[in-house]
């Protein structure tokens, strides 16, 4: 790749979260992006189109006729062992749910980026985190789980795009990068990940032995399908998927802690809310409130064990989300009644401010 030589690895750039996703996708050897424009994530496909990776890495970038078509193109590409991805924002992700469930059933890896906006319905283009349930509880039908990474900075938009592909292939599962309008639209400093070449046909055979690669005289043909008419077969697949999910829950939990050591109150927040809460923690300190912040990075698998640990230490927890209170349910399940768990959030595209979080902490927990 000639782009490789031009690239100074240490270069710090300034770009939007959406742009960082596009750069990272090309750099991690993504084979194909299929998408349909929607605010606030359209810059992902716009940047890919500008960068013209088909001239450098050979990556395909295609604007499909709809979100439904995009996810099914991803389905097809993934079936061939290709690193395929799509991105959208909330209403578009709803349209993709059938395809995601099919890919989970067919054990296919892919990366889906959701830059959330306010809903329900067509909603607003302003930032939101109201697709938490849809993402971690299985927005499509059937018993499946989707590994979910929640970036909180432009740097993480790039890093988690790469990580999402690795996890997707490791566990043969659709993987989501769950961002929101703020992270997609804001500009910050970013150091882009190093270039990895796309897999060759040989590498696909090695890394994805399940892939359909046309006529293969040296082995039995692979068939990719999510339809199993025999209930016994279907249960067998479910048992396999569930054992894989248990392994993911054991091995892939990620979280970040801020000022938690001597915390009496624990704020739990993900994505952009976690950034806002970092400032809230500092403001609370000035008022003499010992608050800490736990930021789940993987929303599925959820950091249950660390929450259990803090439930033994703190007086209460506050889940701060840009929705009507979704993750708070998982925090409560993890804590299992040990300490009070309250919720604070704004809905419909309103971003809470650090002061509001401190007020909520005082009113709901400290009183």
């Amino acid at each position: 790749m000639n782009t490789d030589k031009k690239q100074n690895k240490e270069e710090v750039r300034l770009m939007k979260g959406n742009e960082a996703v596009a750069h990272a996708a090309i750099r991690c050897g993504c084979d194909g992006y299929f998408g349909y424009p929607i605010t606030p994530q359209s810059e992902i496909m716009e940047t890919l189109m500008e960068l013209e990776p088909w001239n450098t890495t050979g990556m395909v970038v295609l604007q499909a006729e709809s979100e439904t078509a995009s996810i099914n193109m991803v389905y097809g590409a993934a079936g061939c062992g290709k690193k395929a991805m799509t991105s959208s924002s909330s209403p578009g992700i709803s349209l993709m749910q059938e395809g995601i469930s099919y890919m989970a059933g067919a054990e296919l890896p892919c990366v889906i980026v959701n830059v959330m906006r306010g809903g329900p319905g067509l909603g607003t283009i302003q930032p939101s985190q109201a697709d938490y349930f849809q993402t971690v509880k299985g927005g499509g039908h059937g018993d499946y789980k989707m590994i979910t990474l929640a970036p909180a900075s432009v740097q993480e938009m790039a890093d988690y795009t790469v990580m999402a592909f690795d996890l997707a292939f490791k566990y043969r599962t659709p993987t989501m990068v769950l961002a929101d309008g703020v992270i997609g639209q804001m500009m910050e400093k970013v150091v882009l990940p190093p270039f990895q070449p796309r897999w060759t046909e040989e590498e696909i055979k090695q890394n994805a032995p399940w892939a359909t690669l046309g006529k293969t005289p040296d082995r039995k043909p692979n068939i990719i399908n999510s339809l199993r008419m025999d209930a016994n077969d279907m249960e067998e697949l479910n048992i396999l998927l569930q054992s894989r999910y248990r392994e993911i829950e054991k091995k892939e939990v990620l979280f970040e802690e801020f000022d938690c050591d001597d915390a009496e109150y624990l704020i739990v927040a993900f994505g952009i809310s976690a950034r806002i809460c970092q400032k809230a923690v500092k403001l609370a300190k000035k008022e003499g409130i010992k608050a800490g912040l736990l930021r789940p990075i993987t929303l599925y698998p959820f950091p249950i064990e660390v929450l259990k640990k803090y439930a033994e230490k703190v007086k209460g927890m506050l889940s701060v989300e840009m929705n009507a209170g979704q993750m708070v349910e998982d925090v409560r399940l993890a804590v299992n009644g040990k300490v009070p768990v309250e919720y604070f959030g704004r809905m419909g595209g309103i971003v809470p401010t650090p002061d509001e979080v401190v007020e909520a902490l005082k009113n709901k927990l400290i009183k």
Partner: protein
């Protein structure tokens, strides 16, 4: 040092790009930067605003509810953000089209008639750079040389002949800005 800035005005006044230039200037002097635009329908004709943070430390929240400095270029923006300037902070407004003026006395209020100057001198396209110059006169948060470096980096090469014009605009702004209270 951390400087938290809001720039607000009508879509098309160069609010977002002024913020971008500040962010690039911060990048040029190795600061942490964040640039958070309003990207809603207001970008298309209504009010547009951008929050820019320059800091020597890691930036926590890119979303703020009070600011060290507010630059307001129209009446709705003044109405919305005057109360959000921290006590002792700075408010800069362009006098064009205002019928109600800032009233707070616990902040430093400056007026810069950049719009008027720009139209009288056929320099509408550098209006935002004039205002940026005014800002840098009273709050030298970034060096002018870093602004120019940042501009050079963010502008495609075919626009590099405009750099001189922009530098001139910065110096004009430095002369135009006046303390009101």
């Amino acid at each position: 040092m951390t400087e938290e800035i809001i720039i607000a005005g009508f879509g098309g006044q160069g609010v977002l790009s002024m913020g971008k230039i500040l962010a690039y200037s911060g990048l040029m002097q190795d600061q942490e930067v964040s640039w958070m635009p309003s990207y809603g329908p207001e970008q298309r004709g209504g009010t547009a605003n951008v929050t820019v943070i320059l800091s020597d430390e890691r930036i926590s929240s890119p979303v703020l509810n009070s600011y060290d400095t507010a630059i307001v270029l129209n009446q709705p923006s003044l109405d919305r953000f005057e109360s959000k300037v921290k006590p002792g902070g700075t408010l800069i407004f362009d006098g064009n089209g205002f019928h109600k003026f800032p009233t707070r006395t616990d902040i430093n209020v400056y007026r810069i008639d950049a719009t008027e100057y720009a139209y009288a001198n056929n320099a509408a396209k550098t209006m935002n750079m004039i205002i940026l110059g005014g800002l840098l006169k009273i709050r030298p948060i970034v060096l002018v040389e870093n602004v120019l470096k940042g501009l050079k980096k963010s502008l495609p090469e075919r626009h590099h002949h405009l750099l001189e014009m922009n530098e001139k605009a910065i110096h004009i702004g430095m002369d135009l800005i006046k303390k009101v209270n």
